[in-house]
Symmetry: C2
Subunit: 418 residues, 2 copies
């Protein structure tokens, strides 16, 4: 296999399929989503057999137990993936929807209308159910997708891909709309990233090194999902019981995800009242606290935090804690150490809430709610293909609309420019 | 001067200014726009003196008369630039405006709110009035701008920049929000394009080679404004008098701009009726026609078109003409030769209009109106910094809103995730 011609062929076929898919009716796309969902369930045995091969090879290669678990498919997980497709079918079609419109003084009706981006190259790691989600979101938004999963999941992805393509054919949609890079040759990825004439967007989802590599090599736009070093700031005017509930939820409900809190900032005025109680609640949940000198003085159980701790995305039951003198210091700390992902202020002071939401530059800034809500489902966008930490094109949760561009459709009755 | 440290210093100061500018009130930004507009008029003599130096050097260097004219400032042109700033002041502030919102079942109020992109690097050619427009649009949208005009305009841009900065200081806005690359060292551009930690977006405006160079070197997103090979398709169900008015306007009203028509497609059924009359009208306006064989057979005055003619952006009084057998052939021709900029169908057939607008993938697709309307002012967006031929982030005319990103601002009353 020649990586250049392999990549070129894949991308060309995806481009051709995207042209056929763009004008496809929502009805037909939804029929495919339902068909594929049913096929996944019907063909569970085949999927499990292929997955068993991946699991066996991964175990033999010494993959860690949590990673093997991420790789594992079960009837329940396959059903969940199928249900995900049904949920995508229930979302409104972004293609052709009017995003904005205005009638000009000369009578021209100017409509801003959603259109697919075209071809999306999705590069991701381990979990094979992501294969199904990503294909569902892309086809529903009228885009062709080129899937490149982790090599550990290749057997699982190959059968999932075959099922998705069989359903495309059965529903008279172009099978090439969902393509799989069925080789672990990394050079193919490099080649695909050169093909900006066929591929409109690359979306890497995985570790930071993967994302950096894609961002550096890609000749097309890249939607990046870097880390989330998310902060909860407990203001002097906070409801302290609410603040405790929020930091415990933000830190502990699912510590391994990007919108989990990694750092707690506490206003000096309420620190002596708030921190001992909140720290006890966090420690009871197994959280290790790493604090600034003032925090350590207040709570001798806390070990000192380094600068690296304040910048860290722990993805674990570890929390950095800092006592700040003011709202300004909290905002400055977030600007310095944060990753512009998700920050929360807990306060009943309207002026503080308004300043925090205006001045903190993150994809989501919340008032009196857990950071864990920065999510496509929770924000009402439906399923998401990732949470963008970029500012260009899309920021925060990326669902169907964020997989689209737009065009201006203008109706007149003979207008010319004078 | 060391290009690396020069670029780094410029970009750092722009980044710092952007942080101060982002939360600035619309009132203050509008005051600056008014102040700068007045200062431009008051200081006309200084501007004309600097411009005279540029003009003299350009003339001495043998610049062509049309290019010298583009470079020239006059009291009327300075006043027009000042009026442009007043018009930008009158536009709504995109920063903080709520683009979308929804209330979740758990009571969370999710708002999608406009925010500035940050720092914009604007690289453009000759016309010094663009300096004023671009600075006005960026500051109004809360962005710092780094201006890099053509070296022929450096004296003019230097005085314009000094005036804009004086006004920023007078209005208590950061002067570093408008920066000028005041050297013609091209290495500085290359260095700036590396600084994606300080610069959020590069916008090249000028010839294709400039745009390609910027797109290749930039490490930050680039908003590109490539060529416009715009089509007018006259359907078999067209009002032929309207079609003639539209093609004459689209081709002749201002042939040197990107949204002027470059190609005319005519349905075979009406070609014998329509083409002789329309061709006469075009030829009377000085247009040279280059036709497909069928066109040449019908109109012996027309010379044959090559494939290159059908792909060309003439920017001149030249028009390629093709007779097509069907709407499908028109759509296919546009997909093959077009540049996804602007296309018009002239028809009274609703089904044809619906298919053309759905299937032609251009930044603007018009029905019964001149291609010349694809413009920020004409679409009601206000002033524009360019017309994007990209699909990512912004497509078509880019005004204040397209210079912005967004964030999610979420209000709760203690919500946590279960």
């Amino acid at each position: 296999m020649n990586p250049t011609s392999y990549a070129d062929d894949l991308a060309r076929r995806a481009r051709a399929a995207s042209r056929l898919l763009a004008p496809a009716l929502g009805e037909r796309k939804n029929r495919w989503l339902g068909h594929a969902a049913n096929a996944l369930v019907t063909r569970t045995a085949e999927i499990l057999a292929a997955n068993a091969n991946d699991i066996e090879a991964a175990t033999r290669a010494g993959m860690s137990a949590p990673n093997v678990d991420r790789l594992r498919l079960t009837p329940a997980r396959i059903e969940a993936a199928a249900n995900g497709l049904h949920e995508i079918a229930a979302l409104p079609d972004p293609v052709g929807s009017i995003l904005d419109s205005n009638v000009r003084p000369n009578g021209l009706q100017v409509h801003k209308v959603g259109v697919p981006l075209g071809v999306i190259f999705f590069i991701y790691e381990s979990r094979p159910n992501v294969t199904v989600d990503a294909a569902g979101l892309c086809v529903k938004s009228g885009n062709a997708i080129i899937l490149r999963g982790g090599k550990e999941a290749l057997a699982s992805n190959t059968i999932l891909h075959a099922i998705l393509q069989d359903s495309l054919r059965a529903c008279e949609l172009p099978a090439d709309a969902v393509q799989l890079v069925n080789t672990s040759d990394r050079e193919v990825v490099g080649q695909l990233l050169q093909l900006n004439r066929h591929i409109d967007l690359a979306i890497p989802r995985g570790g930071e090194s993967l994302i950096r590599r894609v961002a550096e090599e890609a000749t097309m736009p890249v939607l990046k999902h870097y880390m989330g070093n998310c902060h909860v700031y407990v203001d002097c005017a906070a409801d302290l019981a609410m603040a405790e509930r929020i930091i415990v939820n933000a830190k502990c409900q699912r510590p391994g995800v990007c919108n989990a809190a990694e750092s707690l900032l506490v206003h000096v005025d309420i620190a002596p009242t708030f921190l001992p109680h909140a720290a006890a609640a966090l420690i009871a949940k197994g959280v290790e606290l790493r604090g600034c000198p003032a925090t350590c003085a207040l709570l001798p159980i806390v070990r000192p935090a380094t600068d690296a701790d304040f910048a860290a995305e722990f993805l674990d039951l570890i929390l950095s804690v800092k006592i700040v003198q003011s709202l300004d210091e909290a905002i400055d700390h977030i600007a310095r150490y944060g990753s512009q992902h998700t920050e929360t202020i807990v306060t009943n002071d309207l002026a503080a809430a308004r300043r925090f939401t205006a001045e903190v530059d993150s994809s989501a800034v919340l008032v009196n709610a857990s950071t864990r809500f920065n999510d496509g489902f929770e924000f009402g966008l439906g399923a998401e293909i990732g949470i963008s930490t970029d500012k260009f094109h899309a920021r925060g949760p990326c669902g169907l609309r964020e997989l689209c561009s737009y065009k201006y459709v203008v109706y007149g009755n003979g207008q010319i420019r004078e």
